[in-house]
């Protein structure tokens, strides 16, 4: 494998406070050198001219559904990670709601096996309880040993106080985060969107904000009882739950959280005439909640932008709204949405700096889930690099997506900010001509 010399770009690595014009040499899957421009000689290297581009650590998505094993018609690990590479992600954390549920070391190892043909690192998140049934804990030590980086029953929240307490205790001993999809499902039966006037108008049952916030509040109270416990709140969507996370942080508790691009880019009005590509869980919320998500990103309460990439086949989404499954694809639109909504749009009075956006896609998710050595550009670190043009305007076409599924509300959307190269373990896994 030839070394790669990335020349003339603006190197942006928030983990080590690097934001400067630098050249980067990648060799043998590692970052070999980072030097002032023109200093590195790499006569044997392939050269990437990065003038005008941002050279960032490979992006990390801590919340994706790759659908394997069991639902290869929606996505496979190969197609899902190809989409990840196209979106600039070199590391993805795969949720356990596969068929069967990933609750064993065998499945955890299977997902990471070279035979899966992944174009990005797959870090499995294992089920917190057997079959994600919320009853009996899985073997956290064995799962961690086989590569699981956290536990969760994503999509099937752990409602029982006792079970959640057991999870937090068992995970705390091993330093594993417990990830909770915060939804009190006793309040959301038959619901398919956010509660409120629009749900009433559309004749759909609505999920109240409290279904999310009350479970976050309950979980925070449990974390306070367990030394060293780490709770990570998945895909936060309401101001009320965000405030619960803020309060927990102020108490000094180890509580982290993430938000999806769609929850800071869209509100419930996007549903329009029952567009199932605007149906997800948590649902798109009111405009005030959307703005609260941006506020949480700006003030640092939110640790990561995570896509909740949730591919579904066309025939599953082309149904009546209540019957269509929840979720949208997200890997290929995350950067464009982040730059467009947080950095570019004139309504964004904040104009989030690019360095902060990069941090939310790299250093901060790595820190949130304690992925040591990832999300940083330093000599000796893995050669996971994403190079993007922060100024390029482009139009996303779902038909061109590398995901097996095309369920996205952003088909035809225009974005600023496009990935040009994705380099994983020193190999170019995605190259986009301008």
């Amino acid at each position: 494998m030839k070394p790669i010399l990335i020349r003339g770009g603006r190197v942006l690595s928030p983990a080590n406070h690097l934001d400067a014009p630098r050249d980067l040499l990648l060799r043998d899957g590692k970052i070999a050198a980072i030097e002032n421009q023109g200093k590195i000689r790499g006569p044997d290297a392939d050269v990437i001219e990065a003038k005008g581009l941002i050279v960032a650590p490979g992006f990390i998505d801590i919340h994706v559904h790759l659908r394997e094993p069991g639902q290869g018609y929606k996505e496979t690990i190969a197609t899902g990670t190809a989409a990840a590479a196209a979106g600039g992600f070199t590391t993805v954390c795969a949720m356990p709601n596969t068929i069967p549920v990933n609750d064993t070391p065998e499945i955890t190892r299977w997902m990471q096996a070279p035979d899966r043909g992944a174009s990005a690192r797959v870090l499995p998140i294992a089920a917190a309880t057997r079959g994600s049934l919320g009853e009996t804990l899985t073997d956290y030590a064995a799962l961690q040993e086989s590569g699981a980086i956290a536990v969760t029953d994503d999509g099937k929240p752990i409602l029982g106080d006792d079970v959640m307490l057991q999870c937090l205790r068992a995970a705390a001993k091993l330093g594993l985060p417990v990830i909770q999809h915060a939804e009190d499902t006793r309040m959301t039966g038959g619901c398919s969107m956010n509660a409120g006037a629009l749900a009433f108008r559309l004749g759909l049952r609505g999920m109240p904000v409290e279904a999310e916030s009350s479970l976050v509040e309950r979980d925070v109270a449990l974390v306070a009882k367990v030394p060293n416990a780490h709770l990570h709140v998945a895909h936060l969507s309401t101001a009320k739950a965000l405030n619960a996370v803020r309060a927990a942080r102020q108490q000094g508790l180890h509580v982290t959280c993430e938000v999806t691009p769609h929850h800071f880019a869209l509100n419930e009005d996007r549903i329009g005439p029952y567009d199932t590509n605007a149906k997800m869980n948590p649902p798109l919320r009111a405009e005030s909640d959307r703005l609260a998500m941006i506020e949480g990103l700006l003030d640092g309460t939110i640790d990561a932008i995570a896509t909740d990439h949730a591919p579904h086949a066309a025939h599953e989404k082309e149904q009546e709204f209540d019957r269509a499954p929840n979720g949208i694809t997200g890997l290929e639109t995350a950067l464009g949405l982040a730059i467009q909504v947080l950095h570019v749009e004139p309504t964004a009075r904040h104009k989030m700096p690019l360095a902060q956006i990069v941090a939310l896609l790299t250093a901060r998710p790595a820190a949130a889930l304690e992925l040591k050595g990832r999300g940083t550009l330093t000599p000796g670190a893995a050669a996971d690099v994403t190079i993007f043009d922060p100024a390029e305007r482009w139009t996303f076409r779902a038909a061109d997506s590398l995901s097996k599924s095309k369920n996205t509300p952003f088909d035809g959307s225009q974005f600023q900010g496009r990935v040009r190269y994705t380099i994983s373990k020193g190999c170019i896994v995605k190259q986009m001509s301008s």
Binding site: M1, G203, P273, E318, Q319, E320
Partner: protein, 347 residues
């Protein structure tokens, strides 16, 4: 390790047109899915068309859509709506076919999209849909590109019912169809009372009537009438006290409690009757001259008593009667070319 080249989607060979995957189509403009689909002038034209078609010689009328194909696709039981749509289409000369969820391939798991594509392939030019799912008509309209007439979708809408209710109200107030505009119902107050939450009739009426100048009062207990309902349209308000609402109303529409959609909601029926039932005493005390409406089916002794339902101020039978002319106008609007539609109005 390999260096991957950017993948390209394989070039597809040109296929004959009939191999093309059905793609999503725009909603046909002559569909009737929401009460908001009609502008006020369109509402007037539909009412005028209904008047004209009702008066027309049945033998001449039967030439209007002679041998055109109309499919009725019913995923829920129905007496009034199904019969009146079918009679309406037949009165215009169309061939109709009824597909219901029992006794069809829907039982075998066929999707709404595929059922729609099948009906279109069989020659259906318009589909009348009743669906238990809110928004179902949009799925069908996008899948087929045909005009879709919504005969009730989930808790969302029932626009033809709102139009026939409007016709009944105008007849009661002695207002001619040709006079319908944004101010026609100014000064009129309509109370809709009962299970608003689950009622598509309430939603369509609350969307339609205020656009003609009416005030709509929604009345019911919080469990069946959340505060968010007031956001349906301007001039829609909530009044929990049934007697107070009745005193302000010229028209009162009672609704059934939809047991099939309660989803675990517990309602104290005795208390409900005490507070909201339209009985002779309550009507005599608070709205003795009001027109009493009910979209049916009525549950006698529950939301309405027999004295009221069968009483002199009941418009319930007239509502049912108005179903056929209104639905004739909607089927004609869906299938007519522009010039034929104009003729229909002049007839």
């Amino acid at each position: 390790m390999r260096t991957r080249t950017p993948s390209r989607s394989p070039q597809k060979a040109a296929a004959p047109a009939f191999f093309d995957q059905p793609v999503e189509q725009p909603i046909h403009p002559q569909s009737a899915i929401s009460a908001n689909d009609f502008s006020v002038p369109e509402v007037r034209r539909i009412l005028e068309s209904a008047d004209a078609l009702e008066k027309e010689n049945p033998l001449r009328r039967a030439h209007r859509l002679a041998k055109r194909r109309v499919a009725l696709l019913f995923y829920e039981s129905s007496t009034r709506t199904r019969t009146s749509f079918e009679l309406a289409a037949k009165a215009l000369g169309a061939d109709t076919t009824l597909v219901s969820s029992l006794s069809s391939s829907i039982e075998k798991g066929e999707s709404l999209k595929d059922t729609g594509i099948t009906l279109k392939a069989l020659g259906a030019e318009c589909i009348i849909l009743r669906s238990p799912w809110s928004g179902g008509p949009y799925v069908l309209a996008r899948a087929t590109g045909l005009p879709v007439l919504n005969a009730g979708d989930g808790m969302a809408e029932h626009p033809s019912q709102a139009l026939l209710d409007l016709r009944t109200i105008l007849q009661f107030l002695r207002i001619r169809s040709s006079a319908v505009n944004e101010k026609t119902l100014r000064g009129a107050t309509i109370t809709i009372c009962g299970d608003i939450l689950h009622s598509r009739v309430a939603r369509s009426n609350a969307l339609l009537l205020p656009r003609l100048g009416a005030r709509v009062i929604l009345c019911g207990p919080p469990a069946l009438l959340p505060e968010t309902a007031a956001g349906l349209a301007p001039n829609v308000t909530i009044e929990r006290d049934c007697d107070a609402a009745l005193r302000r109303s010229q028209i009162v529409m009672m609704l059934r409690i939809q047991a099939e959609r309660l989803a675990g909601l517990q309602i104290d029926l005795d208390d409900y009757r005490t507070r909201y039932q339209a009985n002779a005493d309550r009507i005599a005390a608070h709205a003795p001259n009001a027109l009493l409406l009910h979209p049916g089916p009525i549950i006698r002794g529950m939301e309405i008593t027999s004295e009221v339902a069968d009483g002199p101020h009941s418009g319930i039978a007239q509502q049912v009667h108005n179903g056929v002319p209104i639905r004739m106008a909607l089927v004609l609007r869906a299938l007519a070319t522009r010039s034929a539609a104009k003729k229909g109005r002049r007839a």
